[in-house]
Amino acid sequence: MSTIELLANQEYKYGFVTDIESDAIPKGLTEDTVRLISSKKDEPEWMLEFRLKAYRHWLTMREPKHWPNITYPEINYQDVVYYSAPKQKATKASLDEVDPELLRTFEKLGIPLTEQKQLAGVAVDAVFDSVSVATTYKEKLKKYGVIFCSFSEAVREYPEIVKKYLGSVVPTNDNYFAALNSAVFTDGSFVFIPKGVRCPMDLSTYFRINNQESGQFERTLIVAEEGSHVSYLEGCTAPKFDKNQLHAAVVELIALDDAEIKYSTVQNWYAGDEEGKGGIYNFVTKRGKCAGRNSKISWTQVETGSAITWKYPSCILLGENSVGEFYSVALTNHAQQADTGTKMIHIGKNTRSTIISKGISAGKSRNSYRGLVKVLAGAEGARNYTQCDSMLIGSKSGANTFPYIEVMNNTARVEHEATTSRISEEQLFYLQQRGISQEDAVSLIINGFCKEVFRELPMEFAVEAQRLLGMKLENSVG
């Protein structure tokens, strides 16, 4: 029996469009656009300077097209709306003032924002196109000294902290998409955990792109002071459009002495149809700096959506004994392309990093792991363990592994392992003869394959991720 071949995928559930009046600026990107965004957000002068510097540098840069294993038609950066906000009252004192249409949208997405229905134990910042529409549990968190708010609010309320850390991990000239983001970013989340505080609940941001013409350029900044701890979750969806939309985010994490940041993502942007029409271009720069001793940053990502994913959540291990972790499941189906991985830069002594990456490619998709482990001369006793496994479903997909290992210190110990396999007939047969349907068997095997990563996710997310994988691969074997 030759069972494993590809059929259809289940419909994308979050593909609806919210009919809401929006306040959008005309398409196109010039210095005036940058000024306009800044003035719309009522930003201080230094913020505008930051944007303009980034914009001017962006003009001199080239799109990184030659090294990633992805192909896409030329992006016309003048054909994008850089600011789009649902029309509503400028300041919203409470959720009651948020447009009910928006609340319904998030409810439909499974993210209830009204107080009674809020997810217990998780504070949510909901970002709709270019702006944050609501942040829950803000008051409760304030009692602990934890600041969790939209980025715009942070610029207004806490300019000193933002000024100090913004661009300190991902400089404005870091790469093409980071520069673009620095110039035109509109909103995002800001998290500040003061010294010694263990954040009492998980924080989460939910991103939704609604406007067909707009791109989403959000910025997240998380600062964990000495001895603090935070777990942050991020989720994303977008409606189905035939046109590709650009999503270029920048995420910066800073962990001081003994601090720990756990950052989890379930990315389920619209992936385009079976022929690869439409879908999100997800070009994201995520980087964390373990600035302090014994600090720890852990990235967990489940990447199932987007037409193209270009994403390398990284850790700069500066502080002595600091730890970086990267757990990733990347699933591509149909015509999706993913070039994703991580960078672990060991600078401090006795720094440790772990990379576990699981790639699953089905349909005619391409899935690449690209990772860098760099041990600088001063990183005495650095340690890295990398494992990347790929699974191919169907004979038209591709799986690639591009690990870069650069070691300049002989006390370092770096290990890399990679395997590629497919679901074996024997495993399927075994499960089926135990009365498990073929689909459930495949799902079981896939979930087993990804177990090491799912284990790292917070409970609700893990359940969501497992369901998502099952859904994405539904009918993909037969």
Partner: protein, 446 residues
């Protein structure tokens, strides 16, 4: 930078014209035309820079800066038999071709041990021989796909090379030695060795490709080796690179594998201040198998780069790759192993491993094992490690009364042994053993 490059090009151009005049007689017209075309390609491409992904970790600026020129003329190579003696492997004493500073030396070569039908000849002889067409085909084919400036440069100065033909069904007992030796008599020399091996169906042979030096001259070896294996042919290939520690060595090895054939390559890299070895193994037919193994051992001032591509184009092929590196002093090694599995290459089994041992704080390794897979029914794995000797193992030996340095050497030797053990030719093994022990011994005294 630009002007430097231009100067460099014109320098090779004038050397090229002089070279062309020198060999005007005795060269077939097609070869002259081929060389001319290659020179143009070389100039158009220019030497690679670190901007190119393939040359990211290896900077060839020292080669660009130096002024190399081909060996002046044939009469001027004053090699004496006693000079090459230490470089001759006894197993291959009567089946060898010797090239001195890139120039073929009939006096030093010997073909007595070769069975009838086997052709081993220098290019000048082969160009006019019975198999001239076969040789021409190989050389032209190579020129058609040369990807970098070095291969084009080799073709531009194509004159002395080795042509080996093993007819179908013939199995050659004695290993065949191709020795390229450099002497201090001719400094700054550019030698462009070319080897063409055609192993016909059901044939078997062992080839030793050896680069060595007497003295410590600065020179540049730019070699190209093309091997084609017919159905069920078996070729065992040793490449021993023991150039002078001031030399530059750039080489490319390309093997095309026929149905059910087996290619077994072992590379030993000991010498040269800067060396780069490009390997391509192409599975052209189903059911073939290859082993591509190597050991690089470098010390202060050395940079060794290995770039390999195992190209699984057809189904049911198996590849094994095991590279080990020992780095000491202020040295640097680069390993880039690419395994490519095409859409139709189902049932591929590919294994790759690269392990590096850093003995000093100043050594640096950049390794990049790459898997690119477009078929689903395959078994592929790769692994890479960088590290130092295990404290526990050292402690174990120390507890058995071994001096710390001795324990260290023993473990280092053990690390290399996996590759050394694979070598079936006694005198290569002995040479390698000696090289490893000498280096380890030098550490003891230092």
């Amino acid at each position: 930078m630009m002007s430097q490059a231009t100067k460099e090009k014109s320098q090779y151009r004038s050397a090229f014209e002089e070279f062309a005049k020198q060999i005007a007689q005795g060269e077939p017209l097609w070869a002259a035309r081929l060389r001319e075309g290659a020179m143009d390609r070389f100039e158009a491409k220019g030497f690679p820079t670190t901007d190119l992904e393939d040359w990211k970790y290896t900077n060839v600026a020292p080669i660009v800066r130096a002024a190399f020129r081909p060996a002046s003329n044939k009469a001027g190579s004053p090699a004496q038999p006693e000079m090459i003696d230490p470089s001759i492997y006894t197993e291959a004493a009567r089946s060898r071709l010797v090239f001195v500073n890139g120039v073929y030396s009939p006096e030093l070569s010997s073909l007595e041990a070769l069975p009838a039908g086997v052709v081993l000849a220098d290019f000048a002889t082969a160009f006019t021989g019975e198999h001239a067409d076969l040789l021409r085909e190989s050389v032209e084919q190579n020129a058609a796909h040369d990807e970098d400036a070095f291969a084009a440069l080799n073709t531009a100065f194509l004159r002395d090379g080795a042509f080996l033909l093993i007819p179908k069904g013939v199995s050659v007992e004695a290993p065949i030695l191709l020795l390229f030796i450099s002497t201090s008599a001719d400094p700054d020399v550019l030698s462009s060795p070319r080897v063409v091996v055609v192993a016909e169906r059901d044939s078997a042979a062992t080839i030793i490709e050896s680069y060595s030096a007497s003295g410590d001259a600065v020179y540049f070896t730019n070699a190209v080796v093309d091997i084609s294996l017919g159905d069920n042919a078996r070729v065992t290939h040793y490449k021993v690179q023991d150039e002078s520690l001031r030399a530059f060595h750039v080489a490319s090895t390309r093997a095309e594998l026929g149905r059910g054939s087996a290619y077994n390559l072992t590379t030993i890299t000991l010498g040269a201040q800067l060396s780069r070895h490009g390997i391509e193994v192409l599975f052209e037919q189903e059911g073939a198998e290859c082993w591509v193994d190597g050991l690089y051992m470098v010390g202060t001032g050395q940079h060794a780069d290995t770039h390999s591509l195992i190209d699984h184009r057809k189904a049911h092929c198996t590849s094994h790759q095991n590279y080990k590196g020992i780095l000491d002093g202020k040295s640097r090694a680069v390993f880039n192993g690419r395994v490519f599995v095409h859409r139709d290459a189902q049932q591929t089994d590919a294994m790759q491993s690269n392990k590096n041992l850093l003995l000093s704080t100043e050594a640096r390794v950049d390794t990049k094992p790459q898997l690119e897979i477009y078929a689903d029914d395959v078994k592929c794995a790769h692994g890479a490690t960088v590290g130092q000797l295990e404290e526990e193992e050292l402690f174990y030996l120390a507890s058995r009364g071994l001096h710390a340095n001795l324990a260290r050497n023993l473990l280092t030797y053990g690390f290399a042994e996996e590759i050394v053990d694979k070598i079936k030719i006694g005198s290569i093994k002995a040479q390698l053993d000696e090289a490893i022990l000498n280096r380890l011994h030098a550490r003891l005294e230092a």
